[in-house]
């Protein structure tokens, strides 16, 4: 299962890098971090093109959930902007 180990390690490193990078730029909203994690998840999943169809389906499900969260963040921001807050 080396390919699974490598996928989880790469994802963990990407998340740590995003956290360190955004913290260095003093980003102070949880939504910003979440958006970065979602993008990293989608990109790393796409790069691991050799996964079995079963693993790919499972990861797609996680990606859809994360993307759903990202869309909620976007909708809340749009509502904030339209209501003038």
């Amino acid at each position: 299962m080396r390919v699974y180990n490598s996928f989880i390690t790469v994802l963990a490193l990407a998340f740590a890098g995003i956290t360190a990078g955004l913290a260095a730029y003093q980003v102070d909203s949880l939504e910003g971090y979440f958006t970065g994690y979602t993008l990293a998840l989608l990109v790393v999943t796409t790069l691991y093109a050799t996964f079995s169809p079963r693993a790919r389906r499972a990861l797609t499900l996680v990606g859809v959930v994360a993307f759903g969260g990202f869309m909620v963040v976007v909708v809340l921001k749009v509502v904030d902007i339209l209501s003038g807050r």
Binding site: R2, I8, Y37, F51, A58, V62
Partner: protein, 243 residues
């Protein structure tokens, strides 16, 4: 809990879910809360990968592979076969098969020839063109991947990486080079190594068998494993594409 990925997933999700509100509301640190949030995502990924693991354990698969290989090896040794197997592409309704000529000096099977559906069969016009027809590990492995017959070198590279690296996790990566009638397959960090035993000398190692079957299927021509050698990075398999 069935496997370590699911255990890791549950631990990460629970720890992340417990820490995120504490770090956000009590400690008041957004980066630390975000880090805890990322462990929830990692946990979900790990748990889902755990669900995607095959139901048959690698140990059970290895037991079945060894049983089949030892039976076939016993048959090859008993018949005293020393010829290298010729891998044929699949025909409608049949899996790809390998022919092991009973006589080393007999002719080789030609393109378009369908593998006979018997254990011992005649494959050529001459009396001595008799062979053993066997199903190889490579032939069975093609059940889990679609290969366009006659797809060419790119098809070999893509299918081998998908099969060996992605589905079976038998190596770190694979690269394929095709020069005229030679296919060179470089396998980086393979888990199955070549051994100098009768079975491997005749049919090739399981890794070479998979490579030869995929090459035969993608080129739509018979192929033969010429050599397998250890390199610094892994194994180099030379395959000859027959006319």
């Amino acid at each position: 809990m069935r496997n370590p990925y699911q255990r890791l997933g549950v631990v990460l999700v629970v720890v992340g879910a417990a820490l995120t509100p504490v770090l956000y509301f009590v400690v008041g640190s957004v980066p630390l809360a975000a880090l805890a949030l990322s462990t929830i995502i990692l946990g979900l990924v790990s748990a889902m990968l755990g669900n995607a693991r095959p139901e048959i354990t690698p140990e059970a698969s290895q037991m079945m592979l060894k049983t089949g290989m030892e039976n076939l090896a016993a048959l090859l040794e008993e018949l005293g076969l020393r010829s290298r197997a010729v891998y044929l592409p699949s025909s409608p309704g049949n899996r790809p098969r390998a022919l092991i000529p009973l006589d080393e000096d007999s002719s080789t099977p030609r393109t378009g020839q369908t593998p006979p559906d018997r254990l011992i069969a005649r494959y050529g016009p001459n009396l001595e063109d008799m062979c053993l027809v066997v199903t190889t590990p490579g032939a069975v492995s093609l059940d889990s991947v679609d290969i366009a017959s006659g797809g060419g070198p790119d098809e070999i590279d893509g299918a081998l990486n998908h099969l060996v690296v992605g589905i079976m996790d038998l190596a770190d990566s694979i690269s394929v080079h095709v020069v005229r009638d030679r296919v060179t397959v470089e396998v980086v960090k393979p888990k199955l190594k070549y051994e100098n035993i009768w079975f491997y000398r005749c049919l090739g190692s399981p890794m070479a068998s998979i490579a030869a079957t995929v090459a035969s299927q993608a080129m739509a021509r018979p192929v033969r494993i010429v050599s397998e050698e250890e390199t610094k990075r892994g194994t180099r398999i030379e395959i000859e594409v027959l006319p």
